[in-house]
Symmetry: C2
Subunit: 331 residues, 2 copies
């Protein structure tokens, strides 16, 4: 059964070596491809420690230096603003809604228009779930409290926070704990209990805010189109199937790890308080988000098409979520 | 590449031919296996119209008459009460929690203990989402209203309903519309908008109640262990991968169809009212459910082990759901 010589592919991931769940996920993906192809397609993985360019993954795949990447679409918004929408958006779709939109509500077709230009096809690569709003040293009781807040919150959500008056700072992950401990920053968002536990923020910040800014953060696989087209049809199907499984596995593993780690944090630090921004702050964030998205929409073309697709899909999907999971959880 | 002679398998599904999403799902599964295996494993599917035994699927797979089945675990509770827990439970886990429990929280290992006895391995085969409480012709304002209610609600949920005083009747799917129209029954539960739309219940019952009884109904694939063991390792992996993809696809497709169809129903029948049972009724249902589960737990052994595993997992997972998706949806 074994082919004369295996096809060898390389995958660059944005993650550092050994990052739980995300990096595990891409390694499990490669292992599954190997098993299903009976060793005919071997994918080796370079973590950021190796290729030294966590935010170079898009270019690696575009140029074909790597056949594949595992990353998150919104990292490429500086290259192409239309990539922004394929991870998560503040006040946007939750995980179940986003997957439904992507696979059955037009998302994949829009992603093809965006990434096709670069000779890349992108696929969902897992979802981290509804991210927590972050760890805060002080309670937020008003919009004024936001105005005196110095917070690490990157990307588009950071733009929203900045628009309502917050001071947004960028600090490398390795320095975050110290920055929070020494009050260089007052707050930071990371992921949720699954990833936050090992960072230790719960030891130094007593308020854990619920999320608004990344309600279902989708990772991505990227595949170089030319490399993919050269594969025999059965290996193409195997790669696609293993990527989809990986998206599902990572999402389920994140739900599990959030649940387990939140339980641990609560037990060890029973003083941690779950908080939600007061309505005044939420309204201001929603309004700022709406304005920033309107600005994007005014670019017209594909950007406006994606914004409208997500808005219309979310209208329908949220109506369903509200009468199903939400109504159930409320009672 | 092609093997001399393809391996041929047969899958029996509980569904009637052409049932949207569920039957589509098993057909897509077979197609994916064919593509990934380059035609080395061909799985043909018999719907209930063909094999005439929608509830004979378990025995078909057990005896090896069919290598695989696509069905729902709770249909086998009469054969083995422990199969009950692998679909959904009243007031139990929602879809995301159930998948996390199954794949990473001990569910798969427990399923192996239950089904292993019969020479079957069961795998998740999709999830229909949080099912609606059903279509009601009259509003439910008190426990007394339940006591005068005649409702089609099968299975364990029906036992709960019966325990609080409702009259539970069993009517074949094809006769449900007429029974509701002619007031032979006052209410019925089916699935949710995805499947309810084509049944037309919204034309004759104005109250659509939110769910409590099937908060994330998991389908299943069953595989005959002897048949599986005979497959070469790469085909084993291909079958497992395609089943997991199918579970993910069906779940996402259901979310999409619920959203789309609920939007249609609302537009065409704007008079439909979404209702939730009053607290008095909910409390009684919860209490009845708790007592019925306690009765099961008293059997001890594997039954008690599964009940405890689900209870403990749900405690942790729900705490996470509450501070993530629920908190987000509330604001």
């Amino acid at each position: 059964m074994a082919a004369d010589k295996p096809i060898k592919w390389r995958l660059a991931e944005t993650w550092p070596a050994g990052l739980p769940i995300y990096s595990e996920g891409s390694h499990e993906f490669a292992e599954e491809v190997k098993k299903m192809s009976n060793g005919r397609l071997i994918i080796s993985i370079d973590s950021a420690n190796k290729h030294k360019a966590p935010f170079g993954v898009f270019d690696f795949v575009k140029t074909g230096q790597y056949e594949m990447g595992h990353s998150a679409s919104y990292y490429w918004k500086g290259k192409d603003i239309n990539t922004l929408f394929f991870t998560t958006m503040p006040f946007g779709m939750i995980t179940s809604e986003r997957f439904a939109w992507y696979y059955y509500g037009g998302g994949a077709e829009l992603a093809k228009k965006v990434y096709g230009e670069y000779g890349i096809t992108q696929y969902p690569g897992g979802n981290g779930g509804n991210q927590m709003g972050g760890w805060f040293k002080k309670e937020i009781n008003s919009l004024d409290d936001i105005k005196s807040l110095k917070m690490r919150i990157p990307g588009f959500a950071g733009e929203v926070m900045s628009k309502v008056g917050g001071t947004v700072v960028n600090i490398p992950p390795g320095e975050l704990y110290t920055a929070l401990e020494r009050n260089t920053i007052d707050a930071l968002e990371w992921v949720g209990p699954a990833m936050d536990l090992r960072m230790g923020f719960h030891k130094i910040a007593p308020f854990y805010y619920t999320g608004w800014h990344e309600p279902g953060s989708g990772l991505q696989y990227m595949v170089n189109d030319k490399a993919f087209d050269k594969l025999p049809a059965d290996l193409q199907e195997i790669v696609k199937s293993a990527m989809k499984n990986s998206a599902f596995n990572i999402s389920n593993k994140m739900t599990n790890a959030h649940a387990e780690n939140w339980d641990l944090i609560k037990k060890e630090y029973p003083g941690i308080k779950i908080k939600t921004f007061p309505p005044e702050v939420m309204s201001a964030l929603k309004e700022a988000n709406k304005e920033l998205i309107s600005d994007l929409e005014e670019k017209g073309g594909l950007t406006a098409e994606i914004v409208e697709s997500q808005r219309e899909y979310m209208r329908k999907a949220r109506a369903w979520t509200n009468i199903s999971d939400k109504a159930y959880l409320d009672n």
